[in-house]
Structure formats: C-alpha cells, structure tokens
Amino acid sequence: MSTKQEILTGAELIARGAIDAGVDFFAGYPITPASSIYSAMLSKLQATGKVAIGASDEISAIAMCIGASMRGAKTMTATSAPGLCLMTENISHAFVTESPVLIALGQRLGPSTGAATQSHEGDISFLQHIIAGGYTIPVIAINSIFNSYSLTIKAINISEKLRTPVVLLSEKDIIMSATNVSVSALEQEKQRAVFINRPYFNFESDEIYKTYNFNQINEIPEFLAAGIGTKHRVVATGSLHDKKGTLSKTSTEALEVLEHLNAKIKNNFEDLYDLDEESGANTLIISFLASDLSAKEAIKKARKENLKVSQLTIYSLFPVPEKIISELTTRYQTIIIPEVNFSGQYADAIMHLINKAKVIKINSQADLIKPERIYKEIKNAL
C-alpha cells in the first residue's frame, strides 16, 4: 500500500468528488469562502473538457445549472449565504421542476455581507425553511476535510436519484483549510463509492412522455432530456402543473403533484449518520459540521479518563433523521449539541424528538467550539 500523501483543502476534495461523481456542468460566482470551490471547479472541470463558467451573479449561476440539468447534465454551483439569498427563488424552481442540482454552500458569518473570512454554522434554519410552501430539500453536512470527497459524491447521488436540488453544507474552516490526505485512502473511498444517475425514460418508447409522471405518490418521475430523439415533447414549469407539465391551477392532479414533491423525498431518502456508542454511557453528543471534530477531540480526552460518552454524527441534517434521533435519545440522560451559531439552530430543529433527556446546547458566534467546553459538559453530566 502506498504511503503517498497529498496536501488538500476541503474545496479541492469537493471538486474531486464532484468530478468523479460525473458533474459535467458548473456555474458559479465568486464569494469567500465558497470561491475556493469555484476556483477548483473552474480549473479542474474545464481541464477535462466539461463546462465550467463564471456567471455574472448567483441568480444566473443557478439558473444556468437548471437549464443544463433539463438537458441532462449533472450540475453544480457553489456559494455562501449572500449568494444563497439570491439563489432562493431558483432553488424553489429547481425543486418544483424536479431538476437535480447541487448547491455547495460554504458558510460564513452573517447576516448580510457579514464577515467573509469568519467561520459559522448559521445557515441551518434558513436551509430548513428555504422552500416556500414548507417543503424540505436534502441538506448534507460535511464534518471533515477528508469526508468532503465522499459526502460530495453522496450528495450528488441524492440529487440525481430524487431529482431534487441538494445543499452540500460546509464552512470556511473545512473548505479553506488544508490537511495531508493519504492517496490510497482516497482511492479506497473512490472504489467504495457508487455513482447514481437519475431514472431515465426510454426515448424510443411509444408511451406518451410526461415530465412529472408517477403512479405511486412517492415515485420519482423518469427523466427525459429535452432534445433526445424526436418522439417526445419535454416541457418544464415552475407554475402549478399536472404530470405532463401543463399549467393547471387546482386540479386534483396538480395538487397530487404538490403532495408528491414532499412524498418522494420523505419516502425515498436514506438517512446518513455515524453512531459511536459506548456501552454504559448516559451522555450522548449529537454533532455535525466542523463542531463534530471538536466533539471528537473532547470525547477522546473524556474516554482516556474513563468518562463514558457516545456520539451521533449526523450527515443528512435534512430531512431530519427522526427515527434514529428519537429512538436513541430515549436511552440517554444528557444530550450535548455543539454548533457554531448563537441559538442552537439544529438543536431547535430536533428538540421535539427528544423526550426526557436534558439537552445542553454549546454555542459560539464566530469561532470554532473549543473541545475543552464540550469536555467540561461531559464531565458535568456525570
């Protein structure tokens, strides 16, 4: 086995993951810290002969992706909160038109222009409610530089499989920091990875093609790229529509399409998490994003001193992995949730699932959470 190491940033690993997963269209607009992903995609993707374009703003960037997605491309953009605000209308549009697109979001301290070079995990609530009408899009959170690679592949797979926009959530300290990565470990990740494409409609079929067709409410409509073959007409719309994509205000079928948008994600989504349970522990840490690393440091120290503690690392923040959270939390007395935002946004999003256990939020505004703070709470809980 090779011992070769490479120094890589999270952004570079996201770009590698995206390219390995088959992304062939990137459009973006520079913004710190997401520019690191933008630069990596522009140099790497263009070098392979695929499309990578610097758009004139974020609205154009994501709209270009939606257009390309309709033509069958695997698409991706990257931004931070100010750009996400501008993309919001188009994200809703991608959601309703069932267009796969990956939005890599590198968080920074907000609101408004905020502080570009300060880390934050503060866009969680915004993402939970980003689709008007109360729908959920998948949000996949990266917890380490190394995991940036495989989580990007997973996020793209979800986007394709479910025909939906997906947010790949990271933060400045992951995408702009570099670490040494074992080349063979990365190769193993690649070997292990599966690459999923959206379900395709057979363009030679005599069946009439409907852009948003399903039999069961939770089925994913088969995709046919506009311009493939001459038999079928493909139409997309963000206005309320029937299965064919014809404008239809409140027909039973149109309302069924709306219900389907929610059901297809809810019923087909596979929760992503890691569980590190220690027998006899009464304290559980629920962690994600870079705060997960702070928690791991704290746990290492605690376990050295024989303090018992378990950890649930969540990668799929949304849809909320309700089953594991509600089952697991009944077995613990104390739940510790560290996150870099002032109110504990994810803690609030899952609070209703935690029955008896005491919840301790550990928060900070603009700096990563010091492992010492988590360690203290582990100790206090005993």
Binding site: P30, I31, L42, S43, S56, T113
Partner: protein, 293 residues
Amino acid sequence: MTTVTLDAKDFKSEVHPDWCPGCGDFGVLNCLQRALAELGILQHQVAVISGIGCSSNLPGFINTYGMHTLHGRSLPNAQGFKLAHNDMHVIAVGGDGDGYGIGVGHLVHALRRNIDMSYLVMNNSIYGLTTGQTSPTSGEGMKTKSTPFGNPEAPLNPLTLALGSGASFVARAFSGNPKQAIEIYKAAIQHKGFALVDTFSPCVTFNKVNTAQFYRDNTYDLNAEGHDPSNLMKAMEVASRDTYGDRIATGIFYQSQRPCYEESEKDTLSTPIVDHILGISPERAAELIANFK
C-alpha cells in the same frame, strides 16, 4: 451669514483606507474629496452610497453620510435615498463587478430614470476583493482565477451601454490623471440628472494587464481634441471606437439637458419626504371624528 470654505482634508474620515498600497482607488477618493471641496459642498450635504468590493469600501473613508449596501445594490439604495431626500447630493460608488456585472440591471434603469445623482465606477477590470476573477470589463483572453484558460467573453462597453440606455451624462476618467478627474467629478455632481463616470482605477495586486502605465500610455483627452459633448451619435462613435485597444478616450462624452426624474415628478418631490408634515390638519380631523358621532 457666514460662509465656510472646506478643504479636501475636511472630507477625510478617521478611518484609514485598507486598500493595497498603490491601488487606483486612493486617487479616486482624493479626487472626489477635492471635487466636493472645490464645489463648496459641505459634508452634511452629501451621501456616498456603495455596493460591495474593495472600491465599495470608499464610504468608510470619506467624511460624509455613507451607506455600504449589498453587492450590486448601490443604485437602488442610492435612488431611494435621493427620492426621500432630494436636497442632498447623492453619489453612488463601486466597482466594475458591482456595477456592470451583478448590478447591471439596476444601472440600465437608473440611466433611463435619470434621477439627479452621480455614479462613480472604479473600473479595474477585475474582481479585486474576491482576489482576482474576470469581470465584465476584463479583456478577451485574460487569464484569471475564473478563466484559467483565458477569458472567452467579449468585454462590456459601459459607455455605449449608458448612451444606449437614455443616459444624460456619460464620462470617463483615469485615477492617474487627477486634474482631469476632478473636473469631470465636479461636472458630474453639478449635472442635473444621472451622471455616470467610469474611472480607470488600476488594481495593482490582481490585474497585471490594465495597469496605471497602460492607461498613461494609451489614453487621450477627447475634450482637448474638440469633441462636442452635446452630440449623441458622435459620443457613441468615439465610445465604441476608443474604449479597448491602444487609443482610449477619456473626458466628457455626452451631456444632455433632458429633464431629470425630480423635475418630471415635481408635485410629489418638491419637498423632501423628511420635511413633510405628518398626519392631517386639525380641521380635517374634526370632520372625520364628526362622521363617527
């Protein structure tokens, strides 16, 4: 009545500019400060309103009212400000990315709306703040972080865009020629209507093509060559011919006296909203109350 005469240094704020040493924006700031002082405008009569970018940090460095808004949104903010307070001088400032890229939609409408204000664009043909990506005014073939294999797009021509969008004042300056820039800024501020001044303001850190030396070598003053700024077609011709390449025109290209927005909307805008008397007259109030009796 006493008159106060101000000096350029009276327009200095307590914050020292955070621009790289040698950045063209220093020149723009100095010229703007001098133009205001020479026009005898007082600090409280001016608002400088920007978007986001290195250049958009300018309101922090000038001792006037200031608004640092969002990337690409200086113009709608500035127009709203001006409409609510039309007895102030409103000067929007920002970069080429801010004004000709993400905010270009606002520019087109501001030009045809023709509100009485000025807009100074510090054009360095690059996104400076985000450390050097191609901007809408970067030349074809230019290699930057966002175009590692060379820029495939044609640059935008801000002057023909403006002239074609109903502009009433269009000029171009160069931060390395302060004498001319000050005169242009003064004319823009005094112009009754929307005045666009594109100013070459080289980024010494990320643009090695559009340097100060490049502009020193390749610009000429079209007004010194007898250009008639009331001739729109002539302005169009010069702007499209002499914008990129080795003969670049600076000076006032075009100025017309078409009525500004405030003049067309005299009824509503003759008194600043902040000076409007709130509520209704006592007589009208008594009448209304009587209705409920």
